[in-house]
């Protein structure tokens, strides 16, 4: 067992967990932050993407103890305290960038990391960046469109609805 402490969405947290506890399980099971999802066991699907010290990380690829002392951001911290959606979240709703919602937290966290390093990505850059996030519902059309819109680009020419 290991004692682990970190800051999650601005709040200091700690727990006593088995040494081999993954960060994603620490978030989901110990902290009950179930917005971060587990969609595979090979670090391919990206449903568990969170930010660790400002970088997008698949939370299934690191142990909780490796995040000792880190600043972790999850989907639960994305909206404003009054519930107002962030620009990326709002764009996903406005452009129907989600259906079943299971991949969505990871998509939003990946999109946030992308826009932090590339504020006006092209369609191709977005598609390439999302290589590690799988969505089975949307065919990606509206996800790509939503991220372009969130970055302030005009998406009105991209297909109807």
């Amino acid at each position: 067992m290991a004692e682990v402490s970190m800051t999650v969405n601005g709040t200091p947290v700690s727990g006593n967990v088995p040494d081999n506890t993954l960060l994603v399980d620490f978030l989901r099971e110990t902290l009950e932050l179930t917005g971060t999802h587990v969609g595979c066991d090979t670090s391919q699907c990206g449903a568990c993407v969170v930010h660790v010290n400002g970088r997008a990380v698949k939370a299934c690829t690191m142990f909780a103890v490796e995040a000792e002392g880190a600043e972790v951001a999850t989907i639960e911290g994305e909206a404003a305290p009054d519930g107002t959606l962030s620009a990326i979240q709002q764009a996903f709703q406005d452009h129907h960038g989600l259906q079943c919602g299971f991949c969505t937290p990871g998509m939003v966290m990946s999109a946030k990391a992308l826009l932090a390093e590339n504020p006006k990505p092209t369609e191709a850059e977005i598609r390439e960046y999302l290589e590690g996030n799988i969505c089975r519902c949307t065919g990606y059309h509206n996800i790509v469109k939503a991220i372009m819109a969130a970055s302030g680009q005009d998406v009105s020419k991209i297909a109807a609805e």
């Binding site: 066991d41 129907h96 390439e128 991209i158």
Partner: protein, 787 residues
């Protein structure tokens, strides 16, 4: 777009807020106090005889509560099959028992043999490793043709062979079709494989069994598209728990695509074990387990022959298919290659004679069942591919050949048992030619050529039978269930409305779209309407969501219930305004007396129903809540025309999809934004099938594509922006909303479009290639180019 958020408005989805903020309530997000965890020890061989299972050492491992094997399930039923197909000799299909835990034999990789219930999942997994299995490996059968050979090893030792059934449709047409093909001026033949796929909803399956000993009540939380169906199948056929003691809850479900329709062993196990150990028992599938335990899709090997006259009129179709059932019959498996496939072989065309033969085969592989489209993609793929091949052989433009054979008069009775109520196939094709700028193709091909790329154009049509299904008809065809849908419309005292629907939303947006319908009928704000689904304790018996049926069947039930509510409310309004009921009109949320300025608001009428002081109590009960069960009188028939352009790299065989245009006729549309999203998703899966996805077993029955490292799921950079259009609308004539269903169209229509386009590209470049089996990987395309 209507400003009021009613029918026709692209209303933003209300469910998005919880999904976007991490507040969704998926089954794995549920933890029950004192729950234990189960890990299934699964077979690592495709076929074997179980000589012994020694759990003694494992039982002593830390945290282990109990270990279960098939011995613990004596007297418990097998997982039932919900559809019995009768073969062409009038005999029922062979139907082997599908045990909860393997009994005597293992028959596919991934079959659960033993189940360890422990305090933690890790303890359960560790203990499973300490179970000693004595399994004698038997020769497996993987290939369907080999499975049917004389003397082939049998998947089920107690069955006469590996043939589940030999189905002919329409059997009476068999000789006439043979003769028509023998005498036809031209016959185009195509042999193809519709490869096995894995549905892969992003949320793996989860089941939590809970038992309340005090009240002898069971609850199952499960990732299902149809919780009532699970309650019926599991309660009545497996565990013997009556409905009033069994509650099944399917909360937010992260995608289904068919594979979450079926009743699975893990659901029965968790429900059973929760009582046996008197603790809640939770199972969460890993993705690796999902690959070897979720029912898989497609897997047909087909030879199709199309007979034509000199002018290209279709004379007859004969198609012979081997359909892989896997090792056991999953819930609706027998219906997929038969009634959901054979009945679609007329497509959009007037072919007068059709004969379909399907031999369903048991193999030592994971069971196969419905996956998005379910039988209809298999029918569409072979039909639209053979038409394309025929067009090339006859030197007729592929679009022109299709147009010459379009059905143009409705209703139209096909030779394969369906009656299309409405459609306009020329209109969708006209629209496609315009939107896809087909006239500009040659210029684009020339531009591609300058860049060293081979450009191809693929065009095809599709039709599907949705809104599944008329109960009396499917009963005759072998369904062991009705396929109606239910809805309860509960009007609350202040006028807000709660709708309990038997439909289940796992991405389709019912919580947004269904209120649009109710709001339109009454003239109130859609925000006043709430949808409740996914819990057998909350709504009437419902059949769930699959086969693009939610709005066509579930929406119709909701409309019928709302009509009953409005009729009663009209009586109350008449009483309140001392007017004749016949003179009462409902508009914009107010009842008015025709020709007067008298009116009463919706909310005042609903309040009167629950506070019946001034109320016709002698004639009318208080309250305002009605239930309707809607059984469709026919299927619905969405249809469309698709076009895509691809570029093939002649050096590598890599295919890029440059554009994809989908023109669909879905009849009336409630929320265009959601409809487009459904088409996008279907296209993503259809293009994924055409180019990337393949579920592969080796000769030993080992699953080679058992993770996202090996099974090529479409990524964002594999797919283009799509152009979708649903402005061609011939409303369904037999349901109250005039809707047809849109969930599967993209996955049905798009695989042949891609293959047609790649074949076109190669032929334009002088390669004598008439077909490549999916997925069109660079290796396969390159090999085809080398001859």
């Amino acid at each position: 777009m209507p400003a009021d958020g009613g029918i026709g408005a692209s209303t933003k989805r209300r469910e998005d807020v919880r999904f976007l903020t991490g507040q969704g309530n998926y089954t794995d997000d549920i933890n029950i106090h004192n729950q234990a965890h189960v890990f299934f020890l699964r077979s690592d061989m495709a076929h074997g005889k179980i000589n012994g299972i020694d759990t003694a050492a494992a039982e002593k491992m830390p945290g282990v509560i109990r270990i279960f094997t098939s011995k613990d399930f004596e007297g418990v039923g097998g997982i039932p099959c919900g559809w019995q197909v009768t073969d062409r000799f009038g005999e029922p299909m062979q139907e082997p028992k599908h045990p909860v835990l393997a009994e005597g034999f293992v028959r596919h990789v991934g079959e659960p043999i033993a189940a360890v219930v422990a305090e933690t999942l890790q303890q359960a997994r560790d203990a499973a490793e300490a179970i000693e299995l004595d399994i004698e490996e038997l020769p497996p059968v993987v290939d369907m043709a080999a499975a049917l050979e004389e003397g082939a090893p049998k998947v089920h030792e107690d069955l006469s062979s590996n043939l589940c059934f030999d189905w002919g449709f329409v059997e009476e047409n068999r000789e006439a079709v043979d003769e028509a093909i023998r005498n036809a001026p031209h016959v185009t033949t195509l042999e193809l494989r519709n490869q096995r796929l894995v549905a892969n909803p992003m949320e793996p399956r989860v089941a939590i069994g809970v038992y309340d000993r005090a009240d002898d009540e069971h609850t199952l939380y499960t990732t299902s598209q149809n919780p009532h169906v699970i309650r019926l199948l599991m309660g009545a056929f497996v565990l013997g728990i009556p409905e009033h003691k069994l509650r099944v809850v399917s909360p937010d479900v992260g995608g289904g695509f068919g594979t979450k329709i079926f009743h699975y062993q893990e659901e029965a196990f968790c429900t059973f074990a929760a009582k046996a150990v008197n603790r809640p028992v939770k199972w969460r599938s890993s993705r690796s387990e999902a690959f070897m335990s979720d029912a898989q899709g497609r897997d047909h090997v087909t030879k199709i022959e199309l007979a034509l006259d000199e002018e290209g009129k279709f004379l007859a179709i004969r198609t012979n298919t081997l359909a892989n059932m896997g090792a056991y019959l999953s819930t609706f498996a027998p219906s997929v290659p038969t009634w959901l496939h054979g009945t679609l072989m007329a497509g959009n065309y007037t072919t007068p004679l059709i004969y379909v033969n399907v031999k369903a085969v048991f193999t030592n592989t994971v069971p196969v069942d419905a996956y998005r489209g379910a039988g209809r993609p298999e029918a569409t793929f072979q039909l639209e591919r053979v038409i394309d091949k025929a067009a090339r052989e006859l030197g007729i433009d592929p679009i022109e050949l299709r147009r010459r054979n379009f059905i143009t008069e409705f209703p139209y009775e096909t030779p394969v048992a369906l009656t299309y109520d409405t459609g306009d196939y020329h209109a969708t094709m006209d629209k496609l030619e315009e939107l896809a700028d087909l006239k500009g193709f040659e210029a684009r091909a020339a531009e591609s050529k300058k860049r060293g790329k081979l450009r191809g154009l693929g065009v095809n049509c599709y039709i599907e039978a949705c809104g599944i299904a008329p109960s009396n008809l499917v009963g005759q065809l072998g369904a062991r269930a009705g396929l109606y849908e239910s809805a309860t419309v509960r009007v609350n005292a202040t006028g807000s409305i709660t709708v309990m629907t038997g439909s289940h939303s796992h991405g389709q947006g019912h919580e947004t779209a269904f209120p649009q319908v109710i709001a339109d009928m009454i003239g109130i704000d859609p925000e006043q309407v709430e949808i409740v689904h996914g819990d057998t304790a909350k709504g009437p018996m419902g059949m769930g969501t699959y086969g693009s049926r939610s709005l066509a069947v579930g929406g119709s039930a909701m409309v019928r219930a709302a009509e009953k509510v409005i009729n009663k409310a009209r009586k109350i309004a008449a009483h309140l305004m001392e007017a004749s009921e016949a003179d009462i009109e409902l508009k914009d949320g107010r009842f008015t007396v025709k020709g007067t300025d008298k009116s009463v608001a919706w909310g005042d009428v609903t309040l009167a129903a629950y506070v019946p002081h001034n109320y016709p109590l002698e004639e009318l009960e208080p309250g305002l809540e009605e239930t309707a069960f809607y059984d469709p009188s026919n299927f619905t028939y969405p249809a469309g025309a698709y076009a895509c352009e691809v570029e093939v790299d002649p050096e590598t065989g890599k295919v890029d999809v440059c554009s994809f245009h989908a023109v669909d006729d879905f009849g009336n549309i409630v929320n265009p934004m959601i409809v487009s999203g459904q088409v996008h998703g279907g296209l993503g899966q259809g293009i994924g099938q055409a180019l990337l996805e393949n579920c592969v077993y080796d000769d030993d029955g080992q699953l080679l594509s058992a993770s996202y490292m090996d099974y090529a799921m479409p990524r964002a950079d594999d797919l283009p922006f799509y152009s979708v259009d649903h402005s061609c609308q011939t409303p369904c004539t037999h349901n109250p909303l005039g809707v047809k269903g849109c969930g599967e169209a993209g996955a049905i229509g798009s695989p042949p479009t891609i293959v047609n386009a790649v074949v076109d590209a190669l032929q334009r470049a002088g390669h004598d290639v008439t077909h490549i089996d999916m997925p069109l990987t660079p290796a396969r395309v390159w090999a085809a180019m080398q001859g």
